[in-house]
């Protein structure tokens, strides 16, 4: 597996169109509700793409449709120019890592990893070699003859990863692979999965509800909400240029403030903020806590408020500032030597115009 020259990926001959994986109009309807609605996505070869969203947003259903475990109501799934929409799961050549690992409890680790190769009728000696390499890749050499129940959660997750990778799948699908691990192990596995994915150059989809995982690991993030695709972009795109109020509040932390818009501008605490054309009436204004500058002097330009609460947590000093009845959180990176302002202190807040986002209130 580590030797790329002897590991030609199956089914990767030629990338048709712009994406290696191309999803068009993918829809899943159940009686009474639509789980996934008209999902379009192009994934270039070798990219790690996150499907990010709250539970029930349709991200896992989308993944299961790509794997063929759930039949699509409408739409097409094309991989490397080959339409897989109606192809059975066992002929799709995709590696899936389950949240619950789903290892075969009656087989040893080596047998678990070998299973996919046996299905592909790979010669015995090659199976032995590739299984050994895959197990080495996930640092489990020496555990070959253990049963899954004898391994820890993190080790089981590694076996699941090795089992999915050893078949050299056209696409690696990861369904919340880290959510059953404890925090320390999660960070470790995060880097490990990313490193392995990059070194193998494999195209991968990573389903998660954790925006931290999505931002830190993935080339591209697909934000989903209630079955619909909210925004597709790089982590920087999503964070700096969120298209919808949902994305702005789901990716990173943000202040959600009420304001009123008219004549192409939203008015918030006496300050006018440019608003997208067509918006009028109540709107939401969003600004990230650490993009706000705070100065103790009143009267200077900016928004005036009163400190309601000061929270010092070492590297960050957070003020909750009461601005006209709404609480605005401000985060300042500590440099040492600052005095913590007492509640009741008058302060003025300011920000750069590009850091503020205005959305319709309905969202």
């Amino acid at each position: 597996m580590t030797d790329q020259s002897t590991a030609p990926d199956q089914g990767t001959n030629g990338t048709a169109g712009e994406g290696f994986l191309s999803i068009r109009g993918l829809t899943k309807r159940y009686a009474g509700f639509t789980a996934v609605d008209n999902f379009d996505l192009e994934v270039p070869k070798g990219e790690l793409v996150a499907f990010l969203g709250p539970s029930g947003c349709g991200k896992t259903t989308s993944l299961r449709m790509i794997a063929g475990l759930v039949p699509a109501t409408a739409g097409r799934i094309v991989v490397g120019g080959q339409d897989l929409t109606t192809v059975e799961t066992h002929r799709r050549d995709m590696g899936l890592v389950f949240q619950s690992y789903a290892l075969f409890p009656h087989m040893s680790i080596a047998r678990n990893v070998a299973f996919g190769l046996e299905m592909r009728k790979v010669p015995k000696d090659e199976i032995a070699r590739r299984v050994r390499e895959a197990i080495a890749l996930v640092h489990l050499t020496g555990k070959e003859e253990h049963k899954p129940a004898q391994l820890s959660g993190g080790q089981q997750q590694r076996v699941a990863l090795a089992r999915a990778l050893v078949i050299r799948p056209s696409i690696l699908l990861l369904d919340e692979p880290l959510s059953n691990l404890d925090a320390k192990l999660r960070d470790e596995m995060r880097n490990e999965i990313r490193d392995i994915q990059k070194s193998l150059g494999i195209t991968a989809i990573f389903v998660t509800h954790d925006q931290g995982e999505a931002l830190t690991m993935c080339d591209k993030v697909v934000v989903m909400n209630e079955g619909r695709l909210e925004q597709v972009g790089t982590p920087v795109d999503l964070y700096e240029r969120p298209k919808t109020a949902f994305v702005a509040s789901f990716v990173g932390r943000t202040n959600r403030l009420k304001a009123v818009a008219k004549d192409g501008a939203a008015e918030f605490a006496g300050q006018r903020v440019p608003a997208p054309a067509g918006l009028s009436g109540p709107v939401q204004v969003m600004i990230r806590p650490h993009r706000i500058a705070l100065s103790p002097s009143t009267g200077s330009e900016g928004v005036t408020g009163t400190i309601a609460r000061a929270i010092f947590s070492g590297d960050i000093l957070q003020y909750d500032v009461d601005v006209g009845g709404q609480i605005v959180s401000v985060e300042l990176a500590t440099r040492g030597g600052e005095t913590v302002l007492a509640p009741g202190t008058q302060v003025s807040l300011s920000w750069r115009p590009q850091d503020i986002f205005v959305y319709g209130a309905a969202a």
């Binding site: 794997a67 475990l69 059975e88 799961t89 066992h90 002929r91 799709r92 050549d93 995709m94 590696g95 899936l96 389950f98 619950s100 789903a102 290892l103 075969f104 409890p105 009656h106 299973f115 996919g116 299905m119 592909r120 089992r163 999915a164 078949i167 699908l173």
Partner: protein, 291 residues
């Protein structure tokens, strides 16, 4: 002295815990001793009693009955016949029950409850009544033969032979088998089957490599239970076999009630117990090999 006093406080709790265990086990041990162990020992003793030519039993010890077991090929045949018929019925019951149990395991909600009640409901009726039901279906002028006749097909002999006993016992044992299988299906997980599928396993391979091995504990349990029930079943072979199918349980009944040769009945009963012991040993070995 000082060592003794240091140890002393640790002793009473252990002794009282042992006392508690004995006290908790005593009632069931007593009931078992009076209700099961004593009669079995009595049976074992009876198997060594002498039988007078008139058939009367004398309380004189002899190995004659046991010698008869060894020398008379009828009894060897009886045992082999009983065991093989029971094994066959167990296997047939397994084949008939497995798909039902698998389907039941995978159903959910109200539908599962309804199905489970349907599976258990035959147990609410006695085996005698159900056997009579089979007589109505299988007899020469029963449902099946009337239907065959109406279609112009020759009638089939399905009663007073092994066919009838097999059909009847299989149906009667199915609820037990299904429940035992369900109890042993705990390791089945749809995610595991999906994982096999994504790795390239077609449906039948998933069944052979994943589902079947994971359900082996249930299969072993169900087979043990149904084999024991089949060997000891009496009413169904008696009614559907009509005295023409010779099995251990019916033979024991005949010897005890009709021929009044109690030592022979006792000897055969002990042999049945030995067979059960053998089945239990096999089951334990099989389970150890599976897990």
């Amino acid at each position: 002295m000082s060592a003794a006093t240091a140890l002393a406080p640790a002793l009473p709790p252990r002794r009282s815990r042992l006392g508690l265990i004995v006290a908790l086990l005593a009632p069931i041990a007593l009931i078992n001793a009076i209700g099961f162990l004593a009669p079995v020992l009595n049976l074992a003793r009876m198997s060594f009693y002498e039988v007078e030519p008139t058939g009367a039993m004398r309380e004189v010890y002899t190995l004659a009955t046991w010698a008869k077991m060894v020398t008379d090929s009828f009894y060897a045949e009886l045992i082999v016949n009983s065991v093989s018929v029971s094994l066959g019925i167990t296997l047939l019951t397994l084949v008939c029950s497995y798909p039902i149990a698998l389907y039941l395991h995978r159903s959910t909600g109200t539908w599962k409850t309804i199905l489970l009640v349907l599976v258990i409901s035959p147990l609410l009726t006695s085996a005698v009544v159900r056997t009579y039901g089979w007589i109505a279906i299988l007899s020469d002028s029963g449902l099946v033969n009337n239907s065959l006749g109406a279609l112009g097909l020759p009638p089939q002999r399905m009663m007073f032979n092994l066919t009838g006993v097999t059909i009847g016992l299989t149906e009667i044992l199915m609820p037990y088998m299904i429940l035992a299988l369900l109890a042993g299906f705990g390791r089945l997980d749809p995610r595991i089957e999906e994982a096999a599928s994504t790795l390239g396993a077609p449906p039948f391979t998933i069944f052979r490599r994943i589902i079947l091995p994971l359900t082996l504990p249930g299969i072993a349990l169900g087979c043990l239970l149904c084999f024991v029930l089949a060997v000891s079943s009496f009413i169904t072979p008696k009614l559907l076999g009509g005295g023409r199918v010779f099995l251990l349980a019916t033979e024991i009944y005949d010897q005890a009630i009709v021929t009044l040769n109690w030592p022979l009945a006792a000897t055969l009963s002990i042999l049945v117990l030995v067979i059960f012991g053998g089945a239990l040993v096999l089951y334990t070995r099989a389970l150890r090999a599976i897990l």
